[in-house]
Subunit: 242 residues, 2 copies
């Protein structure tokens, strides 16, 4: 395991769910990771578990909580953030989180909204080549963040706006989750009489079927463009029995 | 290109569409391929284009025509088949083709119904590991055919009945084509903001979206179990806008 010197910059990680753990394992090579999660009795090599105040006082603070918990998390960390700190989120939608952070975090911090387009499943073999959307929200840190993510992890960084992100994600992620949900409800499905294209479809389904309910919730409900996507899909799909 | 000696057994290939061409390129290593297609002014190294009578007089005759043309093809070849010949089809459904061949071909020929679960797209890098369903219809040749397909091409041979095949194919192929058709109608879709699972879904769609209309027709309409699959899917999918 790479060694992090004690003078590496401190990074506060708020939330230690499946994605928080993945983030910690990558970030500990570059930061002293100070994690806080009220729910998780977590243990992870190279990660110090601390109180909220300490985690929120770091120069970089990553909010790795479900989108539905972001508002309360913003309110909880806000009083403890230091002037000049950089705050990032990692949720699957970006318009609402960007608004919550812009309105709820003190003017003296910089804000970058991100959406790593991967999770524990797709990052099993490393991060190189995977995608992350980065949306500047306040201050000029987004360019530095993008450069770091490219250099340190080989990520394919897509700098975009929360609106453009959510519009595309409603189709890319929303459609995949919608279809995966339908395919799962069609089970049992064949395992021998299959084609390469069916195998690919089932591989796609397998990657998202065990996603946390909060991820599904964010993708299918919290995305403002998802309802229109669902409506179009339902209209097309309801007509296939013709 | 492998050389086929002139004393290799002759194989009559009826139909030279996309799949007929793929079959010819593989089979010419083991047979003198005599192809007949009234529509195709085809040219292919190692394949002799002949009349229907000559193609149908070979010891092995492969009917590589769309399922919707099989009845007329069976009627056309029947008078020319030699006693002891082996006749195979390659259609995407098996119940109806097996019945058509059993009822329409003379008692003195053996019959094996097959469904190669691949096409020009999925076979681009060779046949090894790809799947083919083999259904004995008349005589004892199915075992010999299965052994040949395994040995000569490294195919994963699934010996099954037409009924079991069609039931599974309605789900595997039918569902993939149904979903692909819906996804295509949702376009334009994002190309940058995508996840690995969405990329896999689009890869699956890409493999079938340019399939010949006859293939789609066979999978979605000629399969007796496809209607029930469509009904279930439409009921589930029509409800996602809830």
């Amino acid at each position: 395991m790479p060694h992090t010197s004690t003078d590496a910059p401190a990074l506060g990680l708020i939330g230690f769910g499946a994605f928080g753990r993945l983030a910690a394992r990558q970030l500990r090579r570059h930061f002293r990771v100070l994690a806080y999660d009220p729910a998780a009795a977590a243990d992870e090599a190279g990660v110090a578990f601390v109180g909220l105040t300490e985690a929120a006082s770091c120069p970089v603070v990553v909010l790795a909580v479900p989108v539905c918990r972001l508002a309360e998390t913003v309110a909880a960390v806000a009083p403890h953030l230091r002037p000049g700190a950089l705050v990032l989120d990692v949720g699957s939608v970006k318009e609402e989180p960007a608004r919550l952070m812009r309105e709820g975090l003190p003017d003296h911090v910089e804000i970058v909204a991100t959406h790593p387009l991967f999770g524990p499943q797709s990052a099993r073999d490393g991060l190189a080549g995977l995608k992350i959307a980065v949306c500047p929200v306040r201050g000029r840190s987004a360019r530095r963040v993008a450069a770091f993510l490219r250099r340190a992890f080989g990520l394919d960084v897509i700098v975009t706006t929360p609106e453009d992100h959510d519009r595309d994600a409603a189709l890319a992620q929303g459609l995949t989750h919608l279809i995966a949900g339908l395919v799962v409800r069609m089970e049992p499905l064949p395992s021998r009489i299959t084609t390469r294209s069916f195998d690919l479809l089932m591989e796609a389904v397998g990657m998202v079927r065990h996603d946390a309910p909060e991820v599904f919730e964010a993708i299918v409900r919290a995305n403002p463009y998802a309802a229109e996507m669902r409506r179009r899909f339902a209209a097309l799909a309801g007509a296939v029995d013709g």
